[in-house]
Subunit: 128 residues, 2 copies
DNA sequence: TTGAAAATCAGTAATCATTACTGTTTTCTG
DNA sequence: CAGAAAACAGTAATGATTACTGATTTTCAA
C-alpha cells in the first residue's frame, strides 16, 4: 500500500533527518515553507505519522504541548531544558535492569523513553 | 498567595492520591461528578496545575493526547500498555550514570521521566 | 458570630495542536 | 501518454486544555 514516494515527503524527511533540534511539526513546516511555498501543515503531520509507523522517526517528548520528534532512532535518552526548550541527546551504554525485569514478567517492550527535565548549562550560566 | 483550601480542592487531591491508575484530568472529573454534581472540569484542571506547582503530583506520560498524573512523587519509572492504556509503576533501586554525567556538565535536573511502552502481560496473554 | 475582602468556583467561550474531509494534483504502471 | 492510486492543499472539525466573568466559598479580623 502506498507508492511511498513524493517530493514533499522526501523534503519533509530530509528536514527532520538533517537537524539535531528534535523539531516539532510546526518547526518542520516553517523550515520548508520558503522552499515549498504551497506546502500544507497537514501534509507535514500526515508524513510524520507515516514515518513513525515505518519506524523511521521516534517521538522524543512533549514540550509545552508540542510533540517533538527525532530521526535518530538509536537507543538514547534526552534532556529537555525548561528555560530555552531545547532538547539534548544523551547517549549511554548502560542497560537498564528494569527492562530485564519487565521481560521476565511477560511484558513486551516496544520502546523506551527516558527524558530528564531541568536547566541546561547555558541557561544555568546566564543571569536571567 | 492563596488560602490553599477548598472542599473541592481537597476532594480532587484525595481522588488523585487514592488511585494507582495514573489518571487523566477527565478521569478525576468523572470520578467526582457523582459525589460533587456541580463540579466543573475547569476546576479539576486548575487544581491539577496547582498541585504540580506545589510538587504534590507529577506528570507521568502523555497517553493518546491525554496527560496522565501521579500523586506518588517518588523516583520511579512507568510502563504504558499500548493496548489497554493502563500505566504500571516500576520501582527500581538503580541510579543512572546519565544523571551523574549531566550534573558534572553543569546541567540541573529537576525531574526525570522514564517510560517504557509496549504490551502488558495481560494483553500479551489475551488472544486478541 | 459577622461581614466584607480574597480566593475559588461553575459555566462557557476561546485557544491551539492535531486530525479529518473534499476536490485537485502527483505519481506510478502498463 | 492514460487511467488508477496515492498524495496533496486548503479548510473545517476535533478534543484537550486554558481563559474569562460573574457567582459562591473561605478567611479572618472586628
Amino acid at each position: 500500500m502506498g507508492h511511498n514516494y513524493s517530493s514533499k515527503r522526501e523534503a519533509i524527511f530530509k528536514t527532520i533527518a538533517s537537524t539535531k533540534s528534535h523539531p516539532s511539526a510546526a518547526w518542520v513546516y516553517e523550515q520548508l515553507k520558503e522552499e515549498i511555498p504551497n506546502l500544507s501543515l497537514g501534509t507535514v503531520y500526515r508524513n510524520i505519522a507515516l514515518f513513525k509507523e515505518q519506524g523511521r522517526i521516534i517521538t522524543v517528548a512533549n514540550v509545552d504541548g508540542e510533540e517533538r520528534i527525532d530521526a535518530d532512532t538509536s537507543d538514547h535518552a534526552h534532556f529537555v531544558c525548561e528555560k530555552c526548550h531545547r532538547v539534548f541527546d544523551l547517549h549511554s551504554s548502560e542497560q537498564s535492569p528494569l527492562e530485564k525485569e519487565l521481560s521476565r514478567n511477560g511484558f513486551i517492550i516496544n520502546r523506551k523513553n527516558v527524558v530528564f527535565h531541568g536547566e541546561c548549562r547555558d541557561c544555568c550560566e546566564s543571569i536571567n
